[in-house]
Amino acid sequence: MDMHLTLTVDGEEHSLDVDTRTTLLDTLREHLGVTSPKKGCDHGQCGSCTVLLDGRRHLTCLSLAVAHEGASVETASGLATDGLHPVQQAFLEHDGYQCGYCTPGQVCSAVGMLREATEGHPSHVTADLIGEVDLDDDEIRERMSGNLCRCGAYVGILDALRECASQ
C-alpha cells in the first residue's frame, strides 16, 4: 500500500509516494538519492544510519517513513553548509575514521550527543545524576556506544569529540 509523504531533507522539501513498509533509511537512499546515511546492520545495532530527526539523533533503519510525515531530517552531508561542520573538521584532524562507512552516522550521533550534554542529560556513567555534565573520556565513550566502527577508529573519534566537547 502506497502513501503520500512529505519530508524536509537537509533543508530541501520532498513530496513522494512510498510503500508503507519502506524504512526512512530506504526512503532517503533509494527514493531520494540521499546516500549520506549508510545501511550497516539494518537492525538498530550499528548506528551507521543515524540522522538528526527534528534535531535529535535517530536511527532511520528502525523507522517507517510514513510514521515521520512532515519531519525534518538532517544528514551528515547536510551539516556541511558553510564549509565543514566543527565535528566533521575534528574527525578529519584526528583521523576519526578509516574506511569512512560509519562516519556519517558517527558525525550525526556526535552532534546529537553534544546537544544532549549541553542540555544537561546524564548518562549511564554519570556519577551524580543531578550534577553538571562533564564530557570526560568515559562519558564520550558511553554516549557514543550506539555507533560501531569496524575499522576500530575509536581512538581518533574519541580525540575528535574530546576536542569538540571542550569548545
Binding site: T20, R56, L59, L64, S123, I130, R141, N147
Partner: protein, 333 residues
C-alpha cells in the same frame, strides 16, 4: 514483509476504536522493537495503528486520595524520562535503569509504554527458522537445551525460559508503579508487578493486557524510599547490551534497622522479578553483607538453573549485595 495498512490516531480513544475496527492490527509506538520484528518476520500484522502522535508525551505531578507522584505519558521518550529533573532527583532508579538500556539513538526513539511491551531478546524467539513456543505456540522451546546463557532462572516453565528485556520495567516494579490502560471497556489501572505474566503453558502472551488495550500512562507514586533507589546492571560489554542480571533496589534505614526495602530483578524471569521474600526477610534487620546474602538466598530457593544459566545465582547475589550496601552508605551520609 507482507502488505501493511498504516493508520494514525490523534487521541487514545480513537486509537482504541481504530484497533477494534481493524483486523490484524498492532499498535506502533517508537518502533525500535516492532520495526525490527517486521523485518525478521517475528511480527506479521496486517495493519499498524500509529499511536506516536497522540499527545501522551508529558510528565506531570499528580495528587489523588492515596498520595502524590508522577504521571508519565506513554509516549514520553526514554531519553526525556531519564533526563527529567524530578525523576533524577526523586526516582533515581528509574533514570539509572533507562540510561543503562540501549543506545542514545534508541532512547530518543523508544517510548515509555513501548519499553514495557518490548518482547524478549531470546535468540530463538527472534529466529523464525527455529522452534519457539512464544512465537509459534506448540513448536517447542529451543532454548531449553540450546544456547542457555540468557535463560530465566525464576518462574520459568517447560514451555519457555525467556527473560523480559526491559530495564525500566524492573525499576518501576521495585517502586510500585502502575500502568493506566485504555480499552474498549474503558480505563483500568494495573500494578506494574502484575502487568507481565509468567510463561506457564502459554508463553505467547507476555502481559495480562487484553487485545486492543493501550497503555496511556505510567503512575509512579512518590515515596521516601524511592528517592533512595538505584539500578545496577551486569552485561557482556560495558554499554549497549541487554542484562545478564540487573537489580533495582531502594532502601530506608531507621535506628540501624531496615524500615523499607525494595528489590526487583531483571534478566532472570519472564517478568520483572520483585523479590518480596528477600524484602520481607530484610525488613527490621541491620543491613550487612551477611543479612543481604541471606535474604537473597531466601528468594533464590525457588531458582532453577542449568549448566549455562547457573552463573546467574552468584551474579545476582553479588549485584544485589553491592547495590544495597552502596545504598546503605548513601543513606548513612
Amino acid at each position: 514483509m507482507k502488505d501493511l495498512t498504516y493508520l494514525t490516531a490523534d487521541t487514545a480513544d480513537s486509537a482504541v476504536e481504530l484497533f477494534a475496527a481493524t483486523p490484524g492490527a498492532q499498535f506502533l509506538g517508537g518502533g525500535t522493537n516492532l520495526i525490527d520484528h517486521l523485518k525478521l518476520g517475528v511480527a506479521t500484522p496486517d495493519a499498524l495503528v500509529d499511536i506516536s502522535r497522540i499527545p501522551l508525551d508529558r510528565v506531570e505531578e499528580y495528587q489523588d486520595a492515596i498520595g502524590s507522584g508522577l504521571r508519565i505519558g506513554s509516549n514520553v521518550r526514554n531519553s526525556d524520562l531519564a533526563a527529567h529533573p524530578v525523576v533524577r532527583a526523586s526516582f533515581p532508579a528509574v533514570s539509572r535503569a533507562l540510561l543503562a538500556g540501549a543506545s542514545g539513538q534508541i532512547r530518543n526513539q523508544a517510548t515509555t509504554g513501548g519499553n514495557l511491551l518490548q518482547r524478549t531478546r531470546c535468540v530463538y524467539f527472534q529466529d523464525v527458522t527455529t522452534p519457539c513456543n512464544k512465537r509459534e505456540p506448540g513448536t517447542g522451546c529451543s532454548a531449553l537445551e540450546g544456547y542457555g546463557r540468557h535463560n530465566a532462572v525464576l518462574g520459568a516453565s517447560d514451555a519457555c525460559v525467556a527473560t523480559h528485556p526491559s530495564d525500566l520495567a524492573v525499576a518501576l516494579a521495585a517502586l510500585d508503579a502502575s500502568v493506566v490502560v485504555l480499552g474498549p471497556e474503558g480505563e483500568r489501572r494495573i500494578a506494574l508487578d502484575d502487568l507481565h505474566r509468567l510463561p506457564d503453558d502459554d508463553p505467547s502472551i507476555d502481559t495480562i493486557l487484553e487485545p486492543g488495550e493501550l497503555i496511556t500512562s505510567v503512575e509512579l507514586p512518590r515515596t521516601a524510599v524511592a528517592a533512595q533507589s538505584t539500578y545496577r546492571k551486569v552485561r557482556d560489554r560495558a554499554s549497549f547490551a541487554f542484562a545478564l542480571v540487573s537489580v533495582a533496589a531502594a532502601l530506608q534505614v531507621e535506628g540501624g534497622r531496615v524500615s523499607d526495602v525494595r528489590i526487583a530483578w531483571g534478566g532472570v524471569a519472564h517478568k520483572p522479578w520483585r523479590a518480596r521474600r528477600a524484602e520481607d526477610w530484610l525488613r527490621g534487620r541491620a543491613i550487612t553483607e551477611q543479612t543481604i546474602r541471606a535474604a537473597v538466598a531466601e528468594e533464590l530457593t525457588a531458582a532453577r538453573t542449568n549448566a549455562q544459566s547457573v552463573y546467574k545465582v552468584p551474579m545476582l547475589t553479588n549485584t544485589t549485595t553491592l547495590a544495597l550496601l552502596r545504598l546503605a552508605e548513601e543513606v548513612a551520609q
